[in-house]
Symmetry: C3
Subunit: 481 residues, 3 copies
């Protein structure tokens, strides 16, 4: 197969250099060593994961080890972890010859990103000014996984068109930008965004789209032969879809308030997701001759309900509210795959491999605004006797934010959504220009969506029936005799 690629060069002229033998190891080593040093300087266990928990329990009159935050959060953490690595990873295996790249680079980005995220989020959120240390616990791990999600979403828009070194650059800047916008949105604007409609999906989607726009490849059609699925690659992608779908209630509820907060968030997300499956199927079937379903829609738009509930799920949106949200975004997202992605490619020169525009950018933005409306609509009528407690606990109207009302909170939530879009677009354009330097060993236009470029592939003997191969072997042996 190598041979055949060499021959290809004679037709296309000198082939692009895609050798990452120096660049990739160098980046991996430099960044991993930097992580070791920075962790050594900054990161320690928090009081619930340190041996001082014994003292901490005594001092705080905590009656049982089960009240360690580990037991509130760890099952959700593991579900989120599965979403990041298996969910996002396998969702990106749908291309016929880029499944290794999909699941493999996803693995690489996330493994690096979560380390950098622990540092970045730590500096912004939990740096102890006295000791100069960041302390981490299970909630930090969840937040680090969330932070990676932003960059993985961006990777979805770039899938098959970038080198592994570029994906690491996307993650480095993605995590950095994420931590800053998150600090602005959650701390300065004091928004609530448990499941990250704004900070994760909206930001990540627009970040990826902006990068992809800058990296526009006018001759991408030269890789057309690899730009599609085969039967089994679509089934691998369904593994990703289903894990994202099933665990999304854990994603949205992972860091909400203990007790009713996590409970309600999970219920709302579960319902919104169920609802978006039915409308996705409906629109997908309506759009095709004979009413045939399109796997692309089933794999992606069914998840839009989870994205759009990321902010509002912890509020009292009520079960029917969740169903309505899922209903609408299922339709919007499927329409996106049918009409918007082709439009973007044709008129805006924007190539979006996985359609993150329809699954993350738009549903995330809508989720931000739905959250704003739900927050603003929080009235004493809905919350009755516990209205003040709710405002205090869920909205954290304390300290400098004591005078906020749900109405003003709604305004700030909407502002937060705009901030996330702005960070995604501006940050993405900047990173896109960095990625255009001719040093990253990205694939040529005729080489995209092809694992051959960055992976040692097995000789694919699936295409040579084992029986024949065996016979050949026998004949060969016979001749030798």
């Amino acid at each position: 197969m190598g041979n055949c690629c060499d021959r290809a060069a004679s037709f296309f002229g000198p082939q692009k250099n895609t050798n990452v033998r120096v660049g990739l190891p160098a980046v991996c080593f430099v960044w991993q060593i930097a992580m070791v040093v920075l962790f050594g300087v900054f990161i320690r266990y928090d009081e619930e994961s340190d041996t001082h928990w014994v003292e901490f329990r005594r001092e705080n009159n905590i009656t049982s080890d089960i009240e360690n935050d580990f037991y509130f959060r760890y099952p959700s953490f593991q579900d989120v972890h599965v979403m990041i690595f298996v969910g996002f990873g396998f969702l990106m295996t749908f291309l016929k010859r880029y499944s290794y790249g999909g699941v493999g680079f996803n693995f690489l980005i996330a493994a690096f990103g979560l380390q950098w995220a622990l540092l970045m989020q730590g500096w912004f959120h939990s740096l102890n000014p006295e000791t100069g240390k960041i302390t981490i616990g299970v909630e930090s791990l969840i937040n680090a996984d969330f932070c990676c999600a932003g960059s993985l979403i961006a990777f979805g828009a770039l899938l098959g068109k970038v080198s592994p070194v570029q994906t690491l650059v996307v993650a480095l800047f993605g995590v950095t930008l994420f931590a800053v916008e998150e600090y602005i949105i959650l701390d300065l604007l004091h928004c609530r965004d448990a499941g990250g409609s704004m900070v994760i999906h909206c930001f990540g989607g627009y970040y990826g789209l902006a990068i992809s726009w800058v990296l526009y490849r006018p001759n991408l059609h030269l890789s057309k032969r690899f730009h599609g699925a085969v039967y089994h690659s679509d089934l691998f992608a369904m593994i990703g879809t289903l894990y994202l779908w099933m665990y999304w209630p854990s994603f949205n509820s992972a860091i909400t308030d203990h007790g009713d907060g996590q409970h309600r968030t999970a219920i709302n997300t579960y319902l919104a997701l169920a609802s978006s499956v039915l409308t996705t199927v409906a629109i997908s079937s309506m759009s095709k001759k004979g009413g045939k379903l399109d796997m692309v829609h089933i794999q992606n738009a069914t998840l839009a309900g989870g994205v759009a509930m990321g902010t509002a799920a912890e509020f009292m949106i009520q079960p029917y509210g969740a169903l309505i949200v899922g209903f609408c975004v299922g339709i919007i997202s499927t329409f996106g795959y049918l009409f918007v992605t082709p439009f973007l490619e044709k008129y805006l020169k924007l190539q979006d491999t996985c359609g993150v525009h329809n699954l993350h950018a738009v549903p995330g933005m809508l989720g931000g605004f739905i959250g704003a409306i739900t927050a603003a609509a929080a009235t004493e009528a809905v919350y009755a006797t516990v209205f003040i407690t709710f405002c205090k606990n869920t909205f954290d109207f304390e300290g400098e934010f004591e005078n906020r009302t749900p109405g003003t909170q709604g305004g700030f939530q909407a502002a937060g959504t705009c901030v996330s879009i702005a960070f995604g677009l501006v940050g993405g354009v900047c990173v896109g220009f960095i990625l255009r330097f001719p040093i990253w060993a990205d694939p040529g236009d005729d080489n995209c969506f092809d694992d051959e470029v960055y992976w040692e592939l097995p000789e694919d003997e699936e295409i040579v029936p084992p029986v024949l191969e065996y016979n050949n072997h026998m004949i060969h042996k016979h001749q030798e005799m």
Copy 2:
């Protein structure tokens, strides 16, 4: 490929109309809108997922948020959720050309079914007569998933022979019937059935078999070319099998009593499953030339131990009792695949694609009777000092049921099993006749087990080696020059 199917028509005469472009979207929209309206009227958060949890905690002297039912049940819920979507879904991907249908329609049925189940089960079990509202929490979500399982089991018997519209009809009536029989068995007869041997597996199995019997296709052999596995489709099915097998302890224990109830149920299920693996392998190997194992048995009969422990797992059946149950049903289930399924097809005109007779119907029925025996055998000797507490807590011998003894309870359990069989058979026959109306766009006899009918399939270039394709591309380019 479309071409070739068009040609096929000339041999077989006018092809059956399988166009679902109007029907499927219509059903999805109507039903989803109905769900939104009904949820709006009826469904609210319960006191543990509502913001009133704060008050509820105070009033009930609950010392910690960790005692919210969420933390008792959510990890089990997620395991059950995975079983429903990945377990059942991927188990049904074993056919070479119906993997999309297997995992995709499973997804659709479950996403609709769980919404309808929340309503149906709510009306029967938790409708507050004063407020007219149903309140839901994490236990409701588990029960809704359970309720879907019944219809998914039925779908297993119909796999490849029905249209997506028909699957939704199966789910609509399946969930309805389930809620009624569950109400009769659990509330009126006051049976215990934590893991649903009776209400889920026995009912679901016979429901599917009865539908399949009514829908008998004498010319199904015309689809013989698609009625089998290929190497990789069997591996996808193993994903389903293993997730069902691993998480079955969570399935059976998900709604048992807090504390020792969940703990004991999980242990018993774990042991029964382990035991049925060994006897399945033994019988499978004995039945084939050279002792070769059959993937159909490994994929299915290994799970029979979990089905058969659905009722008895929460009782004190003892570890060796669990092993014996697994031992026996492993053998029975494998014999079913070897002899009973072919017998049913030949003499009873019953086509059972996944063999739900052997995995659900019979082991479920046996599980019901094993539960009856175990309940009847609950004596003071086994439970010693806690006998009365056990009767009160696990059997709920309170109120109108105060005078029951374990012996009478056993009788009621056996009666419950019969009720579930009756509901399955009668309900299934009725639904079967509904599905015979010629309006559902089901596939023709020569078109079964073929994703081509309801899915946009990728051109399967796996069969054209990428190298050749690439060369063709090159040649083509060359000629153009």
Copy 3:
């Protein structure tokens, strides 16, 4: 294909007898019946899974059901369970024609092994001398799964070269040896080894290598045609890799102390794993022309961080310490795949199908020594005010071990590592000789890595395009007319 195999016999001389039709069922039945009897005699529920929990709670002033060990351990148990069956199982599907054997025999070994492990570990650790009974709870289930892991690791070295009967023999002796070495290391030497670097990985690795060494096949090259991956088999293996990787924090923390113990262990493992991904990618890329990545490395060496943290993760190794460990073992393990495995095969006559030497044996051994160093380095400086509590709780310096210091503990930890190596090597050689008796129906040298030998395979029509098959069918029909 059967035909073709018959023909093969004429070239190779009489083919080896691989008929397991008597042996496999016999072994399964005998062993499963033995399990039923032994469980009947010995095994009962412990006080937290028995109905006596009600009394136990009252007597011990336990305020809530949530303090039942089930809620501390069950989510971790399920993660470990997934690692054993899906993780190990799918990791072994990478061969193009041994995927059924990889996932299927893994399933069989583990299902038998966990029953035998409950007995063996029970006799050594929790046999009540008064009642003569072993009591089991969720922690026993985790330990039983751990115990199986040792044999599954050994199976990795033997993959494709042994019969299913032999795998059961490997498991029988593997579990037995495991229970003995574990008793010596954890009870007599009083070592700590939460995640089993020593007792699981180091033992299991050397056990498998020793067996494989005894079973050396000089003519294994005759099976060369099957000794490799295809595109999709490598993707199936990635499912295994990712589940092992994601759930490894649960594996290491599953049986550590409640509270900070589990919390800290999970964090350390998470970090070590992330770090080893980057160094694995770096070395893999450096080693190949063009910097292409090798799936074998990504599938395996990325996990080395988890193995190497098995002992030290519960100590205060600090986050940067965990990163350093992952950094180093990622490099060592990848080098192992590049250089050591070929070296072992060429010069030591040791065929190691999955490379367990590089993923389990060496990282496990290193993990043992890292644990020893970390334990010895536990000083008052690090633990400050809770030093004594830590020594008491984590090291269990009580009773006869009251006078130990962290320094001597470190020495004992190192000694434990040596014990596990010795048990693996000596036990493996003995078991290897047992497996050389000509009664086990193992495959011939030309038949290794081939599912055809022990499995009924579907006729692989993937290689006949469905379209052609359909046309043939049509032509055939036409001719009949």
